[in-house]
């Protein structure tokens, strides 16, 4: 049952089913009560990513969406402190006025669920730790969280970190809670590191079909000192008409010449330096005889936005998985996928987004087995059928994760089973 439906069906029976505190103090009081009564609780922000993770069966919903607003933004100190459920879109808008950004490029999951933008909240973004194309150069969400405040499973308000980057005072809990899918803490406030937006950007598109050649290019791009800040490969597989049409629509740019598969490379900086780097890269990657397109700053911005909006999979009814592997293994995975799946590769060969039709438990296990053998991990982002084990974990890490969970949430009331059935 979707949360909306559940909300509607339950509200009449239990007016306290959804709890909507508007400050930290109330969050703490509510959780103290939930702890006392041992009530499993689903924590939600704006619900933009609620389809990720195992389905929950909870006694209560703790809706933190009222904790919204910018607490403090000091552009010269390169940080922004926000209430936990401030929409990412609002944060980006404010930063933009000062020519700054969240440089991990938050992913927009709105398109895959409802064909329109919905970047969700700061807390949602932090809880998933999914970063966009700039990740391999600038770091992930977790590398940009300087500190937080929140309430643990006993109702105690805790904080960690601060507003400065250089900080080794106590355990780095900001890292630990990033990617924890709301299973450790109810976040109330987050401080993000922000960075200046570069003056300009350009995207060099290399029209290339051969898998071997793509893998070689990715490898050489990673070895380049030309400060590449994005590198994706968009194949034309599978060869189905609907997909090709959709793909053409998304990537229809004045200067994008060819309809075939392509590898795109982004450079950001001053116009002059970009021109210099493009010249340099053309020699370095031996691109002289290859078909190329060059997207200027306007097209380039739009191009990467569409990549990070996952628009290729807009409104998909199929399952969607996210796979991260060591970059040099991308050739193996490309071959494994053959022409059977719709996918694209980001992070210069490391990150695969793959749509899987007719997903079932066996299919998932097979792919996951293979990914583990490659030294990577797989997360089911959207599932068309209920599945077990939608995350990748081994026995030892599961054992440690359970202990960590207990230290934050001793009765296991926050999002129980969201990541792993037993955590």
């Amino acid at each position: 049952m979707s949360i909306e439906v559940r909300k509607n069906s339950q509200i009449s029976q239990d007016s306290d089913y959804i709890l909507r505190p508007d400050n930290e103090e109330k969050v703490s009081q509510i959780i103290k009560d939930l702890y006392k009564k041992n009530l499993p609780t689903e924590i939600i922000g704006s619900n933009s990513k609620s389809f990720i993770g195992n389905k929950l069966q909870c006694a209560k919903i703790l809706d933190l969406s009222k904790l919204s607003g910018i607490v403090e933004y000091l552009p010269e100190e390169l940080y922004i402190k926000v209430k936990a459920c401030t929409p990412i879109a609002n944060i980006e808008e404010v930063l933009k006025k000062n020519n700054q950004q969240l440089s991990f490029e938050p992913i927009d999951f709105g398109y895959i669920s409802s064909s329109k933008s919905n970047k969700g909240t700061a807390a949602g973004c932090l809880s998933c730790n999914f970063s966009g194309s700039r990740r391999f150069k600038s770091g992930s969400v977790r590398d940009h969280v300087l500190g937080f405040r929140g309430v643990n499973g006993k109702g105690d308000t805790i904080k960690s970190g601060g507003t400065v980057v250089k900080n080794v005072t106590g355990y780095d809990l900001s890292k630990l809670i990033t990617g924890s899918f709301g299973t450790l803490i109810a976040l109330t406030e987050i401080t993000f590191k922000v960075l200046p937006t570069k003056d300009s950007s350009s995207t060099l598109v290399i029209h290339e079909d051969s898998k071997e050649e793509i893998a070689k290019l990715f490898n050489n791009i990673q070895s380049s000192s030309n400060e590449i800040s994005g590198s994706v490969f968009v194949p034309i597989e599978p060869n189905n008409k609907k997909y090709i049409q959709n793909r053409e629509k998304i990537f229809s740019f004045n200067d994008l010449k060819n309809e075939g598969p392509f590898l795109a490379v982004r450079m950001e900086g001053s116009k002059k330096s970009i021109d210099e780097r493009i010249r340099d890269l053309t020699i370095e990657l031996n691109l002289k005889n290859k078909k190329k397109s060059l997207l200027d700053v306007h097209q380039s911005l739009l191009f990467w936005e569409r990549i990070n909006n996952l628009e290729i999979f807009s409104n998909t009814q199929n399952s969607l998985v996210r796979i991260v592997i060591p970059p040099f293994k991308c050739i193996d995975l490309m071959k494994y996928l053959n022409r059977d799946y719709k996918y694209y590769i980001d992070w210069c060969g490391s990150l695969f987004w793959i749509e899987i039709p007719d997903m079932n438990e066996e299919k998932l296990l097979n792919i996951k087995d293979y990914i583990i053998r490659l030294g990577g991990y797989l997360t089911v982002i959207k599932n068309s059928t209920p599945l077990n084990d939608i995350f990748t974990i081994n026995e030892t890490r599961l054992h440690i994760s359970k202990k960590i969970k207990e230290s934050f949430d001793p009765k296991g009331i926050f999002n129980p089973g969201k990541m792993y059935r037993s955590v």
């Binding site: 391999f136 904080k159 000192s225 001053s270 991260v324 440690i400």
Partner: protein, 498 residues
């Protein structure tokens, strides 16, 4: 140095020393268990050398299995363990306890794999930071975090302390540059966190371990990311008539959207000290000296240098020199790198502090340090990683004068408290260790500390791994010692100090 409170000694362990040592000698090679006084003396302190304590015994395991067996045995017998890398830590993190086994990673000194394809290096924890760069530089790669102790400190110690360096401003600290570790928990469990992929799925245990100061597990393998060297690196040396002008210049450079690879400031006391010490050729009339390093492509670096110079002029700079070649760039750094020894030459002892503050508070905090220097009648020289607000005030004193020593400790604690008051933190890169343990309550309340202790307890139920470090044990937040160097008899005197 004031008396240091340490965890209660378990007399039964001391009484059972012979039994424990002989058991350890059955777990690992005989010659890798040290228990004679002269053998264990080198392990009695780290680079916070004011505190000394011999452990019960020292073990030097050679592989992960041995580490696991030692920990399992010690866990069962309730014997405390102190992990140790190269012993360059400045906060006493590797200080032994009388009833503890010191576990040195000294024999874990091999690079296991150089993987240019996946842009990473797999190393044992005892490998030094710099030798990783040495192993990959022939192909134009390097490992980015560069603590000034990089010649001696171990990569395992770097992970345990989340060490930084002058280039952390652009490239981050250890936590942003590692991909995986192998870890042994106190109960002997061996686990792998991360690998050769970017990010982990699930709880970021790698992020938790990084900076955990040896309290959560023993690191037995580290996978680090390597980067391609930038095409061009140049430095600018800028003199300012007041420290405020220097501070304002730092803020304005950052606000303008430039992220230099390094940005350092020295105050007048240090300019003179270093120039006397190593004839660095610094402008002696300046009240503050800034070194800004920029890297990238040729034209980008040129452009940025012009921008930085313009901002400096706007902030009343009195001199600007731009490095014309690599030799000159290194010469700019020579004085800065001699900062610690230069202070050592000026006074019998010095204390090095390590607070971080918001950049904009630089001149305010400096003024306060100056005021305190007058109040305590003790000279202080200041070096900062200004770009990220990390201060290293060096208080000069004579430890033979007990009253001066007491005053120095008080002075140091007041500086750190002021850093916290100014919106900063107690330690930017040297760690809490035993040194700043009792000051933790300045930053954290009981709930915050309890949550951290619960994590510790969940992985080390009996509190046997490096106990007495990081978290207050006096619970009165007393002011304790800082880096103490007596008559230049510091540990690792040859290393540059930032």
């Amino acid at each position: 140095m004031s008396e240091l409170a340490l965890p209660k000694v378990d007399q039964s362990i001391i009484l059972n020393k012979d039994k424990i040592v002989s058991k350890l000698k059955r777990i690992i090679k005989l010659e890798n268990v040290l228990d004679h006084n002269d053998e264990i003396k080198p392990y009695e302190t780290d680079a916070l050398s004011a505190y000394k304590q011999k452990p019960l015994a020292v073990v030097l395991p050679e592989n992960t299995q041995e580490v696991s067996k030692i920990l399992k045995y010690c866990n069962e017998e309730k014997i405390k363990i102190i992990p140790r890398g190269a012993g360059t830590g400045l906060s006493g993190g590797a200080l032994p306890l009388q009833d503890a086994i010191l576990l040195s990673l000294g024999k874990f000194n091999k690079i296991l794999e150089i993987d240019f394809d996946n842009k990473c290096v797999v190393a044992q924890p005892g490998v030094t930071n710099l030798s990783i760069t040495h192993a990959v530089q022939h192909k134009g790669f390097y490992y980015a975090p560069d603590p000034s102790s990089q010649l001696a400190c171990s990569i395992g110690g770097n992970v345990a302390e989340n060490s930084g360096g002058i280039h952390s401003l652009k490239y981050g600290t250890t936590t942003n540059n590692i991909l995986g570790t192998e870890l042994v928990l106190m109960d002997g469990t061996i686990c792998r966190l991360g690998g050769k992929t970017l990010d982990q799925e699930g709880y970021d245990l790698l992020g938790l371990i990084c900076g955990s100061e040896g309290l959560l597990g023993v690191i037995t393998e580290v996978t680090v990311k390597i980067l391609k060297k930038p095409q061009t690196v140049r430095a600018v040396l800028i003199g300012f008539p007041t420290i405020e002008d220097g501070g304002n210049c730092v803020s304005e450079i950052i606000s303008s959207g430039i992220v230099p690879s390094g940005m350092e400031i020295m105050d007048k006391a240090l300019i003179e000290a270093t120039d006397n010490f190593c004839k660095a050729g610094y402008p002696r009339d300046a009240e503050a000296l800034m070194i800004v390093e920029l890297d990238g492509t040729n034209s980008e670096v040129d452009e940025l240098i012009n921008k930085v110079s313009d901002i400096a002029k706007k902030n009343n700079s009195t001199s600007i020199r731009i490095s014309k070649n690599e030799k000159e760039r290194l010469a700019f750094w020579a004085g800065r790198k001699a900062a610690f020894p230069a202070c050592g030459a000026m006074a019998p002892d010095y204390y090095c502090m390590d607070g971080t503050i918001p950049r904009g508070k630089l001149s305010e905090v400096l003024k306060e340090i100056k005021r305190l220097s007058k109040k305590y009648n003790l000279p202080v020289a200041n070096a900062f990683h200004a770009g990220d607000g990390n201060l290293h005030p060096l208080i000069m004193f004579d430890a033979n004068n007990k009253e001066e020593l007491r005053k120095t400790e008080e002075f140091g604690a007041e500086i750190l408290k002021y850093c916290v008051k100014a919106g900063g933190v107690l330690t930017g890169e040297h760690g809490v260790g035993i040194e700043k343990r009792e000051l933790m309550c300045e930053m954290f309340n009981d709930n915050d500390i309890q949550q951290q202790l619960k994590i510790k307890k969940s992985l080390d139920t009996k509190n046997l791994l490096n106990p007495g470090k990081v978290y207050p044990i006096l619970r009165k937040c007393a002011e304790e010692g800082r880096v103490h160097v007596h008559r230049g008899e510091e540990k690792f005197p040859d290393l540059p100090r930032f």
